[in-house]
Amino acid sequence: MSAPLTIPADAPPLTPGARPATGFWRRALRHRSFVLGAALSLLVLGSALLSLLWTPWSAYDIDIASKLRPPSAAHWLGTDVLGRDIVSLLLVGARSTIMVGVIAVGIGLTFGVCLGLIAAARKGWTEELIMRLSDFTFAFPAVLSAIMLAAVAGPGMLTSITAIGIFQIPTFVRVTRGSANAIWAREFVLAARAAGKGTFRITIEHVLPNILSILIVQATIQFALAILAEAALSYLGLGTQPPQPSWGRMLNDAQTLLFQSPMLAVYPGAAIAIAVLGLNLLGDGLRDLLDPRLARER
């Protein structure tokens, strides 16, 4: 017999209660797409916050005399056809973009997750009804439902937010129900039922925490889609209404001057691209970081 294995007395103690996510930030900072995505997203968020406190010029004041100026020390990116400062417009536009994104994703997340959880928990005809209804909603593109809503309620930010939000619901319903069904099939749910827990408590305490990371990732992706949808709706004149600046509107305004001053279309286009790219990279990064299996494969 060999000597019994012993743990040396000076071995570091096991940390009780250490979460599985130990070192999340350390791993996150090493993850390239997460860092880049977070940086770009923070840039957009920072611009929106900054615009609340300060903009180089007012984004609402029209100064026809100095319209379509090229970039200069006074106007870093020049001015638009009404003489408004482009930088200021971009900063304030970020605000509308983020507001629409947050509220629309909020609507989609709240309703979608609730309905998805109910569908997974109740099964039977309840599930069937919820899923068929979300298929029905999914069949209408956001732009189409926004046009319908605008016809009823008039165009505006609220209309576009509502339309985009409703459009987001079915995606969240599907993602939630699919992953919740997988959790319901796990043995610890059976054990929880054997311990006397009802459907509601199991949903809140066991199902939701276990699908949260999937929902977070999905929400970042949906945020990017909402930004694109908002830009598209504003471009069509159905979203944010003048004089409130928005990236989509700036694109629309630039369209007629495309040959005269093409940069007017490039700036808001680039802003939209940065926001969408940032959120997609952030979502990808979060997916890797929150899923230990994927993280290990890298």
Partner: protein
């Protein structure tokens, strides 16, 4: 809680379960009857798909909604079949508890073990968080989790399989249930840990005066841990009785086959394990007669016409076979 000692705690009569599978309705359990008094232990033995686990889930009221349960299950006289789920929730984990086969998956990875053990206490006894935590530590200590007080806030992945099974046992016992159902509690564990866990369960059953239903496919586990046993095959009980009586005089060809098929210590190298020829019948397509007829060595035409009745071959020892005269003449004996 005040029933006399002789009144059965749990009484199952003619239990039947029909499951809706993709291949049509399957009669997973047929005509299972037994009763269990306080402090008694019962073993359910049989191979995969014989209806052991379905019987257990029926007792817990945890079968899928599409399953059709017939017959009667009475807990201290009150009927459980058809009970509303909300009322069943008050019994589960409180008066009837269950330990599962896979300790690696029976705990929620997102919650600390202390919280999971304390949960049934908070639910059923309404005790405060701090008090529940104290009791949870005491329970974890009792089931032999080393350093329970310090590790109560750890997560399931920080424990080994054996330790996790101890934790699930603590969860099941939290509210001092009357009936404990252990569904293959040691199948996923190492042999050395198996013994420890079974001893722990046996101690706790005796200490708390619980009744236990132990489900296993391992005859050895059944032989050592329960007073009475039922052998299941194709959804029916083919043999039941006192564990000693069954092992001394095995009446059913299937029980005998199971016993002969066990690996033996000291067998010569290269000796093949004895098997029972054939395969388990499809539950969706059960034969009209004895479910074991197709694999039985002593089958006669009469076996295939109707499900044989249970024949009494000794005190409380029933065998569902019409040819016990032949089968018992050549019965293997435990220890032989």
């Amino acid at each position: 809680m005040n029933g006399s000692a002789s009144a059965p705690l749990i009484e199952v009569k003619d239990l039947g379960v029909r499951l809706n599978t993709s291949r049509g309705p399957a009669q997973a359990v047929r005509g299972v009857s037994f009763s269990l008094r306080r402090g008694e232990t019962l073993g359910l033995v049989g191979e995969s798909g014989c209806g052991k686990s379905v019987t257990a889930l029926a007792l817990m009221g945890l079968l899928p909604d599409s399953a059709v349960v017939s017959g009667s299950i009475r807990l201290e006289g009150s009927e459980l079949v058809g009970l509303l789920d909300a009322r069943y929730c008050k019994l589960r984990g409180n008066r009837i508890s269950m330990i599962f086969q896979e300790p690696m998956t029976a705990l929620n990875p997102m919650h600390t073990i202390g919280r999971q053990v304390a949960e049934p206490l908070r639910r059923h006894t309404g005790c405060a968080t701090g008090e529940a935590r104290k009791q949870a530590i005491a329970l974890l200590d009792r089931v032999g989790l080393p350093d329970a007080a310090r590790r109560v806030d750890a997560y399931p992945h920080q424990f080994s399989g054996g330790q996790r099974q101890r934790i699930t046992i603590a969860m099941a016992l939290a509210c001092q249930p009357d009936v404990l159902i252990a569904d293959e509690p040691t199948t996923a564990l190492d042999v050395t840990i198996q013994g420890q866990i079974l001893d722990l369960i046996a101690d706790l059953v005796e200490e708390r005066g619980m009744s236990m239903i132990l489900i296993s496919h391992d005859l050895g586990v059944i032989a050592e841990n329960v007073q009475r046993m039922m052998v299941m095959y194709g959804g029916t009980v083919v043999e039941s009785g006192e564990t000693n009586a069954v092992f001394t005089r095995m009446g059913h060809p299937y029980t005998q086959g199971l016993f002969r098929a066990r690996p033996k210590l000291g067998a010569r190298k290269g000796t093949r394990l004895t098997t029972i020829a054939g395969t388990v019948p499809e539950l969706a397509d059960l034969p009209a007669g004895c479910t074991f007829a197709d694999r039985c060595g002593i089958v006669v035409e009469r076996c295939r016409t109707a499900l044989p009745p249970a024949v009494d071959v000794g005190a409380g020892h029933g065998v569902r076979c019409i040819r016990t005269d032949v089968s018992m003449a050549s019965a293997p004996r435990a220890g032989a």
